[in-house]
């Protein structure tokens, strides 16, 4: 009971620290947002989208821009811990290693959701007004959860490597693909108004993906931060 409370407090403290730092610098979210918007623009021109095509491709554009900009946020979030020697400080703190993982993952998830809160309305204006519906938000919640779990895990390895910035997307995207595909399929299912039994398999894939990688993260995160 007491350990559980201490764990919760450590996680909360970490999230609070990240939020406060972000509030003062706006480094992560602004970079993610600007990049995501750029990707959206690039898609528009590269694919020469007609209005009909634009509506059909919008869920793909949403997830690709989110996935790309997410790597910026992850690299920044874990990179600043490494650069300024904060990681060593965190490791010296008398808290469970897993609390560090959950704190960082939770903070990253919050950043991602904040991005989504701005990105989705923008995308609904530029691409498809149907994007603003509960189903799409639900998919966004599940998909971004899987993203930050795997992303935080891999980014904490990547920032300790020599080839850090190059490494994260290479490590992340192939592992992420099942979640990405499921998110695109599920949200475009909602956009097209498909019946529930055609969307639910993809939602199940997403939930299973989230659970598998959460479980794996619990097992291996200790070994990543070992010194």
């Amino acid at each position: 009971m007491n350990r559980g409370r201490a764990f919760g407090r450590a996680v909360f403290a970490l999230v609070w620290k990240d939020l406060l730092a972000e509030l003062r610098s706006l480094e992560v979210i602004s970079a993610m947002l600007v990049f995501a918007l750029t990707v959206i623009l690039v898609f528009n021109f590269a694919l020469e989208l007609t209005p009909r095509l634009r509506a059909e491709l919008s869920s793909g554009v949403l997830w690709v821009s989110l996935a790309f900009s997410g790597t910026l946020g992850l690299n920044r979030s874990l990179g600043q811990e490494k650069d300024r020697g904060c990681l060593d400080g965190l490791l010296l703190a008398p808290v469970d290693r897993l609390a560090i993982f959950f704190g960082k993952a939770l903070a990253n998830w919050l950043f991602m959701l904040l991005c989504l809160v701005i990105l989705l309305p923008v995308l609904s204006v530029l691409y498809d007004p149907r994007l603003l519906q509960a189903g799409v938000w639900g998919v966004a919640l599940l998909g971004s959860l899987g993203y930050v779990v795997v992303g935080t895990l891999l980014a904490s390895m990547a920032v300790q490597a020599r080839t850090r910035d190059v490494l994260l997307p290479i490590l992340l995207f192939p592992v992420l693909l099942p979640a990405l595909v499921a998110s695109v399929k599920a949200s475009s299912g909602f956009l097209l108004g498909l019946p529930g039994n055609e969307i639910s398999p993809w939602l199940i894939v997403l939930i299973v993906y989230d659970l598998i990688f959460l479980a794996l993260a619990l097992f291996v995160f200790d070994t990543i931060l070992e010194e």
């Binding site: 020599r162 490494l167 592992v175 598998i212 070994t223």
Partner: protein
């Protein structure tokens, strides 16, 4: 530092097994009625896929063993598994493509099996890049083991993909239900299992070679470190 005698014998046996398998495929197994000669690709295609998957399974198991025991030996097993797996999965994908052109009328289609196999290949390529990017050997072993475990999720997905989703890829092992399956004559089965056995021998043989290489690389590193120490001591 000589090649072990057992390995020399295994080299010979492997070569023989492969020759027998090739003979079975080309001279013993009959021509398939619909697909003709190109169906013979299939014997090597499946065997290469089997060997590739085996490499990845070995890598995942030994990665877990490394994380538990921290014995560097297991890391050597892991790299060997991944490297051999990569080569054979590439053979698998390319040979599949050669078969697909006359059969499906295209070199490539974004079918689930083809897609999941490609993703798997990409994951293990990333594994190699991760190893290259980390300098400290102990950390490299740790990170590689973690990534091999995460990436292993792609292996069962690739294996069951054609059974879970609508796929045009034939199911070979077990009943396929309504999926496209392959009908074998007994002679085809002999060639099929002969090829599987031959590729299994190739796997073990290559694995042994690769392990020896890993050991020697480690020795060279240790000698270099000692040499640098001596040199540093003289200054």
């Amino acid at each position: 530092m000589r090649k072990p005698f057992g390995l020399k014998i295994l080299d010979g046996v492997t070569l023989l097994a492969f020759a027998v398998a090739v003979a079975l495929v080309f001279f013993y197994a009959p021509l398939e009625a619909q697909m003709g000669a190109v169906q013979k690709v299939f014997y090597f295609h499946v065997a290469a896929g089997w060997t590739g998957m085996l490499g990845f399974v070995v890598a995942a198991v030994t990665s877990a063993l490394y994380l538990i025991t921290r014995n560097p030996r297991w890391d050597g097993f892991s790299v060997s598994g991944v490297e051999i797996g990569l080569v054979f999965m590439l053979i698998n994908i390319v040979s599949g493509s050669i078969w697909a052109y006359p059969t499906w009328n295209t070199w490539w289609t974004w079918d689930v099996r083809l897609t999941t196999a490609t993703i798997m290949e990409l994951i293990y390529l990333a594994y190699g890049l991760l190893r290259q990017g980390v300098d400290d050997p102990e950390r490299r072993r740790r990170f590689a083991a973690v990534y091999a475990l995460l990436g292993f999720v792609s292996v069962p997905i690739t294996f069951v993909s054609i059974r879970l989703f609508n796929s045009i890829h034939p199911v070979v092992i077990g009943a396929g239900g309504e999926m496209p399956t392959m009908a074998f004559t007994p002679a085809m089965q002999v060639a099929f299992f002969g090829s599987l056995i031959a590729f299994s021998f190739i796997f073990v043989d290559l694995f042994w070679h690769r392990l020896l290489l890993a050991n020697w690389a480690e020795r060279v590193d240790a000698l270099k470190a000692r040499f640098e120490d001596v040199e540093g001591g003289m200054k």
